[in-house]
Amino acid sequence: MNNSSAILQLQQVRKSYPGAVSTEVLHGIDIRINHGEFVALVGPSGSGKSTLLNILGLLDRPSSGTVEILGKDCTGLDDAGLTRLRGSSIGFVFQFHHLLPSFTAEENVFLPMLADTGHFKPEMRTRARGLLARIGLEGFETRPVSRLSGGQQQRVAIARALVMNPPLVLADEPTGNLDRASGQQTFEFMRRFNRELGTAFLLVTHDPGLAQRCDRILTLEDGCLINENKSSEADLKGALTAMR
């Protein structure tokens, strides 16, 4: 695969937190995610997944190394530049959905567009409603998200992540707080959008079954990427159990 098809590329990314003794939590990470890929990131708690995800999502800066989004080096960008790039290129799905509770489903979905343009346009509502319909939430558009089930809320979060049509969505344990059926359904929706829209997904998960269904699995341990291969579910389960 050539460089031009890479959405996101990390080269020798390190992250340290200052203190009496500086603590390095990421030790020279190299990651490349291509257009249309569906990648799982697995690793035990404390392995540095959250830190890595923050750097991938331009919410944090590496101590050293480079982060490129769509071939553009983000290392030197200021906060406004990072925010702009984050808004247009990356969607987020969090474990606890992190929707704005008093807002309706469609408001939550079109808020990123509203923040981007600054003004409301009727097309925003149309697009939000279209995404909600595709994700099985037709009829729930004007309902406050606090009155939706956990699975429905997570689907609203997926619609919000996709509303700006980003080439990459970072999903931080999106099924971790759902029952098995809802988790499966949420995963299926992400997979479907990945195929239909060509949106790349990086999915942090503790579920070996879901990781196994991804195109590629990245395994993080103690701040190092130790495995970038497709493993069997049994191997993966064993690895995750051993790492706990």
């Binding site: 999502g57 925010t83 702009r84 704005l100 990123p112 923040a115 600054g118 700006m164």
Partner: protein, 405 residues
Amino acid sequence: MRFELHMALRFLKEGRMQTALILAGISTGVGVIIFISALIGGLQESIIDRTLGTQAHVVLRPPDDEARPQLDRQREDVLEHIQRPAQRLRSILNWPRLLTELRRRPGVTAASPTVAGSAFALRGTANRSVALRGVDPESYSGILDLRTRLTEGTFDLTGTHIVVGVELAKELGLSVGDTLRLTAPEDRSEVFTISGLFDVGNKDLNLRWVFVSLREGQTLMNLSGGVSTVEVKVRDIFSAEKEAQEIHAATGLKADSWMTLNSELLTGLRGQSSSSVMIQFFVIVAVMLGIASVLVVSVIQKGRQIGILRAFGTRREQVLRIFLLQGGLLGVVGSLGGIMLGTFLALFFQSMVSNQDGTPLFPVALTAALYARSVLVALITGLVGAWLPARRAANMDPAVAIRYE
């Protein structure tokens, strides 16, 4: 609707109870400001109107006569004692040109020539000492509009017509159409016909003031073609002293403003204004702290939501504006409530006690300017109160804020 406004309104709606309480606080604060301003403003207007309603704001007179001793100042054995000369009634030189120049000044609304001096009013065997005022009726109406103060007759000063106060008329048994002899110094005397009686609301002035035409005044005071004073009204009464000093500097004339002639009144007015400003200042500080505390709590409560907004591309300055807008909205909406409350309180207070003539004992000055100033002050207070919480929200690290519990 703009994104920031949309978010600000939603955040305020989310914290309904907090929003309602702080709005009640702002409304009370602004209501107090309006009530106090209206009351003190009304009282000041009333005092100023009663005191200055019959006065010029600036009175111009010729400079004093100065003695010019013929002494050899080099000699040390001569004791120097210069006796101040008695001031005789003199005319302002070239007063028509002075009038033209005064009327060109932007701060001056009216200027009128007068001849002022003492005289005796005689009626049969009775006589009274009076203050003779020879005026030009047209221009003098800009200083004191006697037409609106007449109780009887007309303000006619043509020929030997005269207008006197109601108290003098009572003392001398005069009514409109009667005659009255005025005797000025140096035995200059003339018989006048009463054309009108006035009441300026001041018993002493009603007894002492006698208005004749400028020409008759000049004749009686032996000031042929001259005027002893030029009276001036200014646009802003509190700039009268400044105007007086400027006129003095430009003309060399003695220029006394009402502020120097009524310095105690001025001190009283300034004391009232200062106490009003102090009360308003502390109310504003209290309102500002209220807004700030509510928004600080809001920023803490909405930490995660702010993080989410930042994650999907909301810029720092947008977050800043969301919270500044909340402060501004609270200020403006609160001030509208305050206007209603303050107006109600002021009108209620005004209606409680009246003078004998039916006018309110505590007049209130509720003006559009007061309302506009209150809204503006509340808006600025809201923005200032929101500034620190807004900066705190804008500077939140989104990665930390998202994990905020």
